[in-house]
Symmetry: C2
Subunit: 479 residues, 2 copies
């Protein structure tokens, strides 16, 4: 019934031949009782609808306010106004839903991102968030297209889990036990046998371990699902709930892993650039405007489009942790004590300031760091022959820092068990993980990419809460 309509994105690409068309969407602005800017979310570009003066009742015209929804039929004609090629000369206008101009939170003016975050249920109707979420969609689709083309199998690993992949993470409890009259064991501890799953369960921090199980059958798999951290970090970089992509590949070593990750990142950025150029150009413009308020030295050296082109067209720099520490230690930045955490010895974990120095000041391009000290990495990473490092890789991106973390996995049963013991990982509970090393173990590798970090990188949004629909952060689960 409603599908006689044409979407505005499609209509805007038509030749104006006085053809009949029906559109539906929301009013962005209404000027001079005559010109309606109508948007249906298919593109940021509005369709100019022309309501001939004198043709419509005053009461109808009064209800055409910002935020109201309309059904408009008319003829597609060349536009006389600048900035648009065509317009719709209305022959009938129907107001589907009104919007009280006094009360509608989105006035036709610039709103702060903070204000829009409090109105996350409406912010999709702004140009900025329209563009951000269409780009997010394009990136998500590109993820699936990339792996599908390569013959990877998409696995849905469990969200509710009794294991802790990182051996550390702060986790959310999942339970149906009551806080009143909680069932107890004789020693007073909580009797989780009475809980829904008969044991204590959490929200997953990673699908990697389960992903490895599937890779030991399908060779190449990937996950793309929500992951969780109950970390009390109220920053522009952290979410309690975020989406991760975790490919896992049998018969891959660290170099294969790096090659795949680099190809993958370039592929999904290129997909967005090809399919969402207008959205990205809008976001590039927005970023430039925003950065005008910053002091010169805080502004990006490259515009958003230049940055994306640069990443797509250039090889990522690859070096070892040891080489990176040497560069940092010898840097003027370190010598002049400009780092908050000075680099004085091999073995320390790199901070965000160090990663950004390497990426933004030293190499000025994405960097892949490999072979980190084993003490600062997870138990499942493959131990190198030097006895000190593991075959880890982190990919660092300008403006974002770590965007990918991965490694070749330890496929040798004895080495893995020994490392698990050292790190107090419960070996018995992980019988199923170790089984993959007992029965037909193979060299394999994988990585995780934080999807929101990637969306931030591509859209230039500086706060991670602005690239996920309804952010979950400490003390905030609204909507």
């Amino acid at each position: 019934m409603f599908n006689e309509r044409v979407k505005i994105k499609a209509l805007l690409s038509e030749e104006p031949k006085n053809q009949q068309a029906t559109v539906m969407g929301w009013v962005r602005t209404f000027r001079n009782n005559q010109f309606i800017a109508l948007n249906d979310g298919s593109t940021n570009e509005n369709l100019q609808v022309v309501a001939e003066l004198g043709k419509y009742e005053e009461s109808l015209l009064k209800s055409i306010t910002t935020g109201a929804s309309l059904k408009v039929s008319g003829h597609v004609v060349p536009s006389l106004g600048k900035g648009q090629r065509i317009e719709l000369k209305a022959s009938s206008i129907e107001v589907l839903g009104t919007s009280d101009a006094e009360k509608f939170p989105l006035q036709p003016k610039k709103h702060s991102l903070e204000f829009l975050r409090e109105n996350a249920h409406l912010r999709f109707r702004t140009n900025t968030f329209g563009a951000v979420f269409r780009v997010r969609h394009a990136l998500a689709f590109a993820v699936h297209r990339f792996f599908n083309e390569k013959g990877f199998v998409y696995m849905h690993t469990p969200v509710i889990t009794a294991s802790d992949a990182e051996g550390a993470g702060e986790m959310f409890k999942v339970t149906t036990l009551p806080f009143e009259n909680t069932p107890r064991n004789e020693d007073g501890s909580v009797d989780f046998k009475e809980d829904f799953f008969g044991r204590a369960t959490n929200l997953t921090v990673s699908g990697q371990l389960e992903g490895e199980l599937a890779a030991m059958a399908f060779s190449d798999i990937y996950t793309f699902g929500p992951t969780f951290r109950a970390e009390n970090s109220n920053t522009a970089r952290h979410l309690a709930e975020f989406w991760m992509i975790e490919p896992e590949m049998a018969f891959y070593d660290l170099e294969d892993n790096m090659n795949l990750a680099e190809e993958f990142i370039k592929y999904i950025i290129r997909h967005a650039m090809e399919n969402n150029r207008e959205d990205l150009e809008f976001l590039a413009q927005r970023l430039t405007e925003e950065e005008k308020q910053l002091p010169q030295d805080k502004r990006s050296e490259l515009g958003l489009m230049e940055k994306l082109n640069f990443v797509v067209d250039n090889d990522f720099e690859r070096l070892t942790y040891t080489e990176a520490v040497d560069i940092l230690r010898e840097s003027n930045h370190n010598k002049k004590k400009k780092f908050q955490f000075l680099i004085d010895q091999w073995g320390i974990d790199l901070q965000s300031e160090h990663e950004r120095y390497l990426v933004e000041k030293h190499f000025k391009k994405p960097v892949i760091l490999i072979n980190y000290p084993k003490e600062i990495k997870a138990f499942y990473m493959r131990q190198n022959d030097d006895g000190k490092t593991v075959a880890a890789m982190d990919i660092l991106a300008p403006g974002i820092g770590e965007i990918v973390g991965g490694s070749q996995r330890e496929e040798r049963l004895e080495k893995l068990e020994a490392r698990m013991k050292e790190m107090h990982i419960p070996i018995k509970e992980m019988w199923w993980y170790l089984d993959t090393r007992r029965f037909g173990t193979v060299p394999h590798a994988g990585f995780g990419l934080g999807f929101e970090r990637m969306v931030q990188f591509v859209t230039g949004m500086t706060n991670i809460r602005d690239v996920i629909a309804f952010p979950r952060t400490p003390k905030n689960a609204e909507f």
Copy 2:
């Protein structure tokens, strides 16, 4: 380094010209100290590797056991054996990982599905589960391709939520509060202000309400994410954690909604049939074998491939709830009291036995039932003018029952608020949902498809635990 290898699926489509090839995979069987059936998960078809007699050391041959992983280089030659076109004449064989034949749980024989469920970490290495999860992948990819082609925006709606979309569901609590010394208010109740999100939160039962918010900006959106029910149902049809697809479309009425759902279901099945024909043929064969153990009247009338072809090629039957109740009431089945729940009056909720009667006995094709009594449906469904029914639609599939549930949504603020009051839905907490009806409300509709039910339908697996990697069910969160 490892990527010199070719995947077996690709190799099997090559012409045998004595060309060099390297493959890696897992041994399925090893016959006569000479013929290795090797599988790498890219297809169910094994590659026959021929190890020339006398060429390899006894110790090497001994370690080529079921489950072991190999790297084999050799030449691609025409096969003399039947059932295969080519084989790989090995020039070198390397055992990457051994597999103790005594201990490896997957012996080269038929295992029960129950046994394989207990070994879910290894079951991907069987033909059945290899096929099931490749088909699952194909269906998931088709979901994204379908909506992307139509210009829908993929939304990641929150997993952790403070709202209850269905106004009913049994939910899992998500919390970081301790069971010991739980923070309390003065009246003794739990002080959720101290919880991570500053309020009580749950795992979502549906992304629909948040999806509607986005549809009011982008026109067409879909979700594809995990959803949860803390329902103590230990059946072959229920999971505590499952994946749902929920499209939501502005400017759609119930008929548009039905059209989209039918087109969608046919599209994803067709995609799997085109891309995974061999897997489906294997599963069809498996189902036929399995059903041989059933009495004649319990067997499917159509084979799996016939069933899928039938669904793709035929229009779904569309009728109202009222018409369906008439058919059921007048049926011989009802008159002979063969239903456990007899159909005696308008208004009752249809049971699985009724749905199956309609689909499998009466119409013998998928059925869309519309306009259900409002008392048995959710608050957000659009009220029809008869005052008794709502614009709901359920799609029922042979062998599965309800596979899609959807409706046109109530877009009229007063009607929605009145219904929410009647049903004791907390209006104040849902301010953001009601805002979409306050500001530019539009007719809209949507539906939810349980992804695992769909995978069951396409693969013919009768237990839902066999179509998700690591099922979460009462008292079970292993792996």
